[in-house]
């Protein structure tokens, strides 16, 4: 009895509630005679799509700056990378691959990812330098730095000299479009690699492989020498300092990796979604990713990759099922969106109220 109680406690009440809710949604989907197999495909697609963005929480939590509420910084970098890749295609940089459309698309997304990693890493270093100066209130500062970046990029989207007809408003308008279709660039290129159907469930194998490979890379990093040092610096800064670890440097490394993952994550997200969303679309994305990691079992001070894999599956899976189910119950309603707001912010509040015993 005691063991069961303890196990329950470590598993956490919120997770139990969310798993029950998740199952309930599937039951409801069955009751409404919806296509559960297609729904499962959606769950898989969203899981892989958001995975890397949520993975960005791991290095940031491990290096001691808490969940990266300022993920929008990395996302902005990623968007610039993707836009440049689109621009390059228009300028004819990928012409030599035109004989094989799929290869050409693949080159496009790889260029986008490399640029995203590059730009986001540079932004991440500056972000880390800033974060090191505000120890103790990283979460609030990073939230607002993230918001400011989105507002700043809004101005940039209007002013940056992009010329590609896919990205800018066709006639009369100034600046880039709100949503840019990626059909001619790298829409679903990862998803379709080795993608197959089980019944009516589509498995986006390529994207899942990319996600898991990225997880593996991050896992290898956490096992490496600098990864272990970084975790030590995050877990107990005072002790780490006494042991001769350069805590500030480790925090910058963690922040930079997290931001870079944000940049890569948004490119993968966009390829799965088929559109690049600019302006205010990424504003709350950081919050959703934090919530997903926390649902998976991470806390303000501790996170593992397993938490990310599980949390993204639960949170995004829940949304994937909730959307059509809510539409069945109340057509054309935003019921699932409302539940998403309540659940994601509720779980962050819960984690914050539990954080007291852990850090501080």
């Amino acid at each position: 009895m005691n063991i069961m109680k303890k196990g329950l406690q470590s598993f956490g009440l919120p997770r139990i509630i969310i798993i029950c809710f998740f199952l309930l949604l599937f039951v409801l989907a069955g009751v409404y005679q919806m296509d559960v197999q297609t729904l499962l495909g959606d769950v898989l697609r969203r899981w892989a799509m958001y995975g890397i963005l949520v993975l960005a929480m791991v290095p940031s939590i491990q290096c001691g700056i808490g969940p990266n509420f300022g993920l929008t910084i990395g996302i902005s970098g990623g968007l610039v990378g993707a836009l440049v890749s689109i621009e390059l295609r228009d300028l004819g940089f990928y012409v030599s691959f035109d004989s094989n459309p799929r290869l050409s698309m693949l080159v496009g997304i790889l260029v986008a990812i490399i640029l995203a990693l590059l730009i986001s890493s540079i932004m991440g270093i500056f972000y880390g330098l800033l974060i090191n100066r505000v120890k103790g209130s990283e979460m609030t500062v990073s939230t607002y730095v993230g918001f400011s970046i989105v507002a700043f990029m809004n101005m940039m989207w209007l002013l940056l000299p992009f010329k590609s007809s896919t990205s800018i408003w066709p006639l009369g308008g100034t600046g880039l479009r709100n949503t840019i279709s990626l059909d001619e660039n790298f829409s679903r290129v990862f998803n379709n690699i080795l993608g197959f159907y089980i019944g009516r469930t589509y498995v986006p194998t390529g994207m899942i492989i990319v996600f898991l490979l990225t997880c593996l890379c991050v896992w290898l990093f956490t096992r490496s020498r600098s990864g272990v040092i970084m975790q030590a610096a995050g877990a107990n800064p005072a002790y780490a300092k006494a042991a001769g670890i350069n805590v500030d440097k480790m925090r910058i490394i963690g922040t930079t990796i997290s931001t870079a993952l944000g940049g890569m994550g948004i490119v993968c997200y966009a390829q799965s979604y088929g559109f690049l969303q600019l302006y205010n679309a990424p504003l709350m994305m950081g919050f959703h990713c934090v919530a997903a990691a926390l649902i998976g079992g991470a806390s303000i001070g501790k996170a593992r990759i397993l938490h990310v894999i599980l949390g993204t599956f639960l949170f995004q899976g829940m949304i994937a099922v909730a959307l059509p189910v809510a539409n069945q119950i109340l057509p054309e309603s935003s019921l699932s969106e409302v539940f998403r707001i309540i659940i994601s912010n509720g779980i962050i509040l819960y984690a914050l109220s539990k954080a007291k015993e852990e850090i501080r």
């Binding site: 979460m139 609030t140 500062v141 919050f287 109340l330 409302v338 539940f339 109220s353």
Partner: protein
């Protein structure tokens, strides 16, 4: 030489400590000239926004004093106000009765919410600000659930102008025209005067009776003085010229400045005389004379045609501004009461507060309740002035903008005063009005200006928080 250096250092300190304010003054003045607009356009817009927003910004002060930082959770107060507004409009109340009923409903709601938020904040000491921010979003979700699905879905309502066709959920906007619009702004001065007169009479008589029963010294002379003063002012309001002036509900800014100048002069002359009489001090009363000089200078400005025409264009809603002024007075009084002092002790150090016998958790909860209740009143003031209630949008940016305004005024996470709040509202909204115009003039695109002001709102919060964390680390 040494004196010179210290005065230099003093100027440097002054510049450094007020860098945010100076930056914003420069930005405001710059965008005013770039946009090429006139004072006749700017001032009326500005004073409307001041009347809408100042009360809300002032509601942030108490948590800052109590060490809870910037209360991003005032969104919760705004939600309480909006729930009240919905039901009052739904039941068909209007005018001043309507707004009173709103206050009656939203106060207990805000107290309840404030208690909940405060209790939760006690469990996350040190991360109240991020907690408050997330709390705002969380409440937004609950609010949407209530307004979109529970109203109509579970609670039966029927009103085609307010409810979405189909009977479930509240429409995007609720028109307050003809029910709550200007219900506070439109109260005429004479009605305010009436109420104040009767309150003074009643309070003075109660005081006299109380002293009579308790067999204390009556101090009849002073009471009679107050009463006769009240009666004289009341009688004056029956003079036809004054009566027609008082029966309006708006006060021209020009008249307000004249009245202010007059009041300042009389008050300061009175003080000078009293000082001479009571303390028998000699020498020039510098401070009082300075005030009088400033007042006279303000009066002189009203004769410059550019300013005069702008001042005539601004019509202040009297009761709203009285509420704002009243809250300022209340704040300075409250912070000197025992509870207010306890709060600032808690704000400075929880350990010291605990060891001197203050119940820290309880004090923090009281601070949150007060802030939430004031924020809900602030939202009521704002909604009745705007006149259209955007059901799902009115509360979302409330916290950010109020906090940005407070910070623009030079406040920090640890220190905020009423003066900073008022100054901040003026500067922030000036920039808010001007930046789209300036954006259009500079880039030929008003959208850039709009994004710029959002960037400013977020950026100033980020900067202030970063500066604060930076300094407190040292």
């Amino acid at each position: 030489m040494i004196e010179q250096k210290s005065s230099n250092a003093y100027v440097k300190d002054l510049l450094l400590n007020n860098s945010v304010v100076i930056l914003f003054v420069v930005l405001c003045v710059g965008s005013f000239f770039v946009s090429g607009t006139t004072l006749n356009y700017l001032l009326p817009e500005l004073f409307i926004r001041i009347s809408r927003n100042t009360f809300m910004v002032l509601s942030l002060l108490i948590p800052v004093v109590a060490g809870l930082g910037l209360n991003f959770g005032i969104v919760v107060g705004a939600v309480a106000a909006q729930i009240a507004v919905f039901w009052v409009v739904y039941w068909g109340f209007s005018g001043f009765t309507g707004i009173l009923l709103c206050i009656l409903i939203c106060t207990p709601l805000a107290v309840l919410f404030g208690y909940g938020v405060g209790a939760l904040f006690n469990r996350m000491k040190g991360s109240e600000m991020i907690g408050g921010l997330v709390m705002g979003y969380f409440f937004d979700g609950l609010y949407q659930l209530l307004f979109l699905y529970i109203i109509g879905g579970i609670i039966p309502v029927s009103n085609p102008t307010m409810i979405i066709a189909g009977g479930i959920g509240v429409k995007n906007t609720i028109d307050l025209m003809g029910n709550l619009k200007y219900s506070l702004d439109n109260v005429p001065m004479i009605a305010i005067l009436d109420v104040v007169f009767w309150i003074v009479i009643i309070l003075t008589s109660i005081q006299l009776i109380y002293r009579l029963i308790k067999k204390q010294e009556l101090r009849l002379k002073k009471a009679l003085l107050v009463l006769s003063l009240a009666v004289i002012i009341y009688a004056l309001s029956y003079v036809p010229a004054l009566s027609s002036f008082l029966s309006t509900d708006r006060l021209l800014l020009l008249n307000a400045i004249e009245l202010g100048v007059l009041a300042t002069c009389i008050y300061n002359i009175f003080r000078i005389i009293r000082r001479r009489k009571e303390y028998e001090t000699t020498g020039l009363p510098k401070k009082e004379l300075l005030y009088i000089a400033v007042a006279l200078a303000a009066y002189a400005i009203t004769y410059i045609p550019v300013f005069e025409s702008a001042f005539v264009a601004v019509r202040l809603p009297v009761l709203t501004y009285i509420c704002i002024g009243g809250l300022c007075v209340f704040m300075s009084w409250f912070l000197n009461t025992r509870l207010g002092q306890n709060m600032s002790t808690v704000g400075q150090s929880r350990t010291v507060a605990t060891s001197s016998g203050i119940n820290v958790d309880r004090t923090r909860i009281i601070a949150m309740i007060m802030s939430t209740v004031l924020a809900s009143y602030g939202q009521l003031i704002s909604l009745q002035n705007i006149g259209t209630f955007s059901t799902y949008g009115a509360h979302t940016q409330v916290g950010q903008f109020a906090i940005a305004a407070l910070l623009v005024g030079g406040a920090s996470v640890h220190r905020a005063t009423t003066k900073q709040a008022v100054l901040g509202v003026i500067l922030f909204h000036t920039l808010f009005i001007l930046s789209p115009l300036a954006g259009k003039a500079l880039f030929g695109n008003a959208q850039i200006g709009e994004y710029f002001r959002v960037f400013v709102a977020y950026g100033v919060i980020a900067m202030a928080l970063a500066l604060h964390a930076w300094r407190s680390k040292k």
